[in-house]
Symmetry: C2
Subunit: 340 residues, 2 copies
Amino acid sequence: MIIDCHGHYTTAPKALEDWRNRQIAGITDPAAMPRVAELRISDDELRESIEKNQLRLMQERGSDLTIFSPRASFMAHHIGDFAVSSTWASICNELCYRVSKLFPKNFVGAAMLPQSPGVDPKSCVPELEKCVKEYGFVAINLNPDPSGGHWNSPPLTDRHWYPIYERMVEYDIPAMIHVSTSCNPAFHTTGAHYINADTTAVMQLIQGDLFRDFPQLRFVIPHGGGAAPYHWGRYRGLAQELKRPVLREHLLNNVFFDTCVYHLPGIELMAKVIPVDNILFASEMLGAVKGVDPETGHNFDDTKRYIDKLDLRSSDKQKIFEGNARRVYPRLDRRLKSQQ
Amino acid sequence: MIIDCHGHYTTAPKALEDWRNRQIAGITDPAAMPRVAELRISDDELRESIEKNQLRLMQERGSDLTIFSPRASFMAHHIGDFAVSSTWASICNELCYRVSKLFPKNFVGAAMLPQSPGVDPKSCVPELEKCVKEYGFVAINLNPDPSGGHWNSPPLTDRHWYPIYERMVEYDIPAMIHVSTSCNPAFHTTGAHYINADTTAVMQLIQGDLFRDFPQLRFVIPHGGGAAPYHWGRYRGLAQELKRPVLREHLLNNVFFDTCVYHLPGIELMAKVIPVDNILFASEMLGAVKGVDPETGHNFDDTKRYIDKLDLRSSDKQKIFEGNARRVYPRLDRRLKSQQ
């Protein structure tokens, strides 16, 4: 089977966005703050939003199951306070849960967290627990910069984040390190902020020694690891200068890269420098780049085509498409085994 | 000949750093502020600092001439006010000028600017003019984030920067877009901030339409263009979504990438996706990564070896090593012709 480890619910019914806009208005005008119960989206609406979009494309392109989380750019942890983020995360996660119930063979949830700038990450634990225990989610998305482009949180290696990591280890779930919308005009959201965050996360992990404290912790760095594979020589060299072990030991037992790189040469590079055990198939569709590549006649984000073209053994491709995901997301593996 | 378009004076005599430390102390204690005349570095000291380091390595590795600018991480535009930056830039540029006089066949200068957070870039024009007219410098380094990792300047496409661009066009000099030290603990200087800045700059240029206003303006994006070549499909796709022309038209008449990518697979990718006319040889030595790559037995930053190994025609390699630099830095070309 083919598992796409990186999909967001970017096609939720318009009612969700309308409710969110009312919630944002309610931050400055509490009388306008909507109640959660005012958001009503039927199962039929959910079904339609998925069948016409993600599921249709999964079937056309040949993937089977997507690890599905709320729309990343809509997390917008910088908006409002913890209460605002908490209500919003709860709503968005519940929608992904409902999608996973409607299409249990095709979608499994990953949680967004109710992060909020300057708020102790411990505050995210109840939502995380609910998503794992009640919703059967198999992962979380962790935003290393809830400020949305001002980067005023401590590095991922700081004890600040440990309450999240402790729960990740307890529940045996990985985190995808994924920022949200940039509210900094210097950074285009999907063209700069996302990629910079991936690069930044990798370097923070090289500088630190987080996996000594959490040998079981697992991170997925999306968008092909940002700039890291392209500059793998730089990172190997910096690790050496910083007296860290070689990256294979220092990072690669715990850090994985997805294949959201939207052209064949990029995927070829990744497969050349990153061990096959650390590469997870993903497309992030319908995501950052929706168009058709005029150079190939196929969608930029049809990443399966690039992997199909790699000069790898079929057993290695099977790792990228399925085996690695089942290892990195053990709760997914257990669920798939129980469905057999 | 082989021109390295990206070298910094990272090996200046210790007296420079001592003077700078006193200058920084003088920001809070004006009585301690040193006079410029208190910095004394002899020609012999300059010669030794270059002959034992950059020049030795250039000769060992086979490059002839380096476009030489002050140490990037020491620019630290976020420290002090404009007066502090102005004095510091003036000192650092003068040292590069003296190096270029001592070794006229091997070094030609590129200016650091006296940028300062929140100060109008127009204030940099006198130093820029002096470096071009009196020192014979052929380029500038432009810092898109003088705050050192807080990213509170307008994008490079904003009119904010136009006073610099007007002088660049007038003097026919390119700018390398190069940040300095990160004072944001989220960003490692050479492992995250440098690479993120390159990626950010490329995306700002894609979003905007700067080269319509300045068709002659030329930027060199260092460190192999950050993440841009690895994600070239993403950038082509984003340009398409943003209704921009294809990148070849929109960017590549004006934007060039250097080869500071410290492993062969990265350079191979670059040569595959970036037209050969837009690639400039560079090493940034002695720079970010000084060690020997245990996988090759050669220095990470000996980038000439990677280009030598590329499957390119020798006329294309000549472009990367020399021809493109003479086109992008016309003042260098004129100088070389006059030296013949």
